[in-house]
């Protein structure tokens, strides 16, 4: 029966994907020239969008499991902002580099700096939150807020010193966009996605055991410290890569696991794959909206996800704080 729910999710996703792709196809095929547009712009965009949705949702699941807290996700606790800041440094500095350097190191430097930025941000939040006896929801969120502000002001500074065209793209990217998608990005993100899928098998049991509590996980034979390090590393890597290509897309990692938990429960064996599928679908839908609302121009996708995500976040916050005082 549980399997049937999962299949339901899969088939829904497939249908949505098919519809979305068809839609683009029909909307843009008055002549064969547009098929080039479809192949070089639309198709990589759609695929990148699906992959990113899956990765960001998986990241939300990882982090919520690790922090034992349903309110955590890369956009909220600063992982994305850290990545964005790291990447924006390269973005601006690279403009001053000679052209031949830029083409040589550019594609590698952006993800690398994004990774450094996000690992610093995540580690800060985690260690500060951990330093208390009991990891407190509010303390994580407040530290996350501060780290987010630091990341964003760092980006703001970069925008300020940047030349105009760079500034505009940093700004756009601050709120997330898939408009720059290309096949190279799809390829790199695909590798990350494979890594995530492979790592899922390893982390199902430890993540489930951690739901019971850290002590319980230790007594179930989980090497908690090592598991935590590995998950933080993979999680940061995947968020950093995605963010360095598409910018900060908040709340996906929050809403999707929340919805999926209501459908299939919290067992990561079902939660992780289902979240990735639903996440892909949700982000594709959001990207579609981002393009259609003000068509022919588009709005950043982060605006869409935040409009939907923020109320869900407030709802969860209220529920959680209420539970806390109740206990």
């Amino acid at each position: 029966m549980l399997a049937s729910i999962q299949w339901g999710a899969v088939s829904i996703t497939n249908k949505q994907m098919a519809e979305a792709i068809q839609h683009f196809f029909h909307g843009n095929t008055p002549s064969s020239i547009y098929e080039g547009v479809f192949l070089q712009i639309r198709l990589p965009r759609v695929i990148l969008c699906l992959f990113s949705g899956a990765i960001l949702s998986a990241s939300g699941v990882f982090m919520q499991g690790l922090f034992r807290n349903p309110l955590v996700e890369p956009g909220i606790i600063g992982t994305s902002a850290g990545a964005a800041f790291g990447a924006s440094i390269v973005f601006v500095v690279a403009a001053y580099l000679p052209i031949e350097w830029k083409s040589l190191v550019g594609p590698l430097l952006v993800p690398l700096f994004a990774f450094i930025g996000s690992i610093v941000a995540t580690y800060l939040v985690y260690s500060i939150a951990k330093s208390q006896q009991k990891t407190n929801v509010l303390s994580i969120l407040l530290v996350g807020l501060a780290i987010n502000a630091m990341g964003l002001s760092g980006m703001g500074f970069m925008t300020y010193i940047a030349r105009d065209p760079q500034a505009r793209s940093i700004n756009f990217w601050n709120l997330g966009t898939f408009s720059g998608a290309n096949w190279q990005q799809v390829f790199i993100v695909f590798i990350v996605l494979i890594l995530v899928i492979l790592s899922i098998f390893k982390f199902i049991k430890p993540l489930n055991a951690l739901l019971l509590g850290e002590e319980e996980a230790i007594h179930l034979g989980v090497d908690v410290k090592q598991t935590r390090r590995k998950i933080l590393f993979i999680n940061t890597l995947m968020v950093a890569i995605v963010t360095s290509f598409v910018g900060v897309i908040g709340f996906v990692g929050l809403i999707v696991p929340h919805i999926v938990r209501q459908l299939v429960g919290s067992d990561h064996k079902k939660l992780l794959p289902a979240s990735m599928l639903i996440g892909a679908a949700v982000l594709l839908l959001a990207d579609l909206m981002a393009r259609l609302i003000l068509a022919p121009s588009e709005i950043p996708i982060g605006i869409i996800t935040s409009i939907v995500g923020a109320p869900v976040f407030i709802f969860l916050l209220k529920k959680n704080l209420f539970l806390k005082t109740d206990a």
Binding site: K205, L211, G213, I218, G221
Partner: protein, 258 residues
Amino acid sequence: MLKLQDIQYAIAGNQILSNINLQFTPGQLHMILGPNGSGKTSLIKIASGQIENFKGSVQYDNESIQKISAASLAKYRSYLSQQNHIPFPLKVVEIIQMGRYPHYEYQALKKDIEIIETVVEQLEINHLLDRDFNTLSGGEQQRVQFARVLAQVWEKSSAHNRYLFLDEPLNNLDIQYQKYLLQTIKKFICDDIAVIMVVHDINWALAYADQVYFLQEGKLAAQGNPIEIINADLMSKVFKIDAQLISVPGQKHPILSY
């Protein structure tokens, strides 16, 4: 046999435990008692392998705990802690199944499923299996967690004795279930199982324990057979209370009145 030698343990300069020497023999129910803050929970966390930064030695069947991997220890040692908070919706059956995690790789085997079914039946919690853990009462949650740790060490291991740690397992339970749980534990104990539990009620110790250990300010104040060592002097020394033992007609053990 689980052997603790010269255990010293301090947190931030505060001495929590000192000079602890004791042995938990399989086939027996061991109860640890003592006032709040006397180091009971620290003691069983050290013995179970959760706390690692202590001085002294802990040996499971003559093997130092430092040499045993967490994964293999989990096959013959389980632990019920006092905290029950789970921040996500999780079904009771999923929680009990986690007790078998140390024994399988990706997929629960037929054997694991059978053990879960047996444990669930023994503890009479069949009707709870599909419920969300967070919707259960405190007592029901306690029984579910107990089922999980019981399932973890349910089957005999050829190479090792089995050790079950319970930190105040009677919390949240009404008298009927306290008694039921203790009887279940007594039934579960056999030659190769040692159950080590922290309790507060001295009368349960008199009625059920094979060995008792009284902690006072981090030191072992007394240990031995409960009926032999529990008396008014010990109670006034450890708990600072006036108490007396009263024998009950038709009952093998006395009760403590305080």
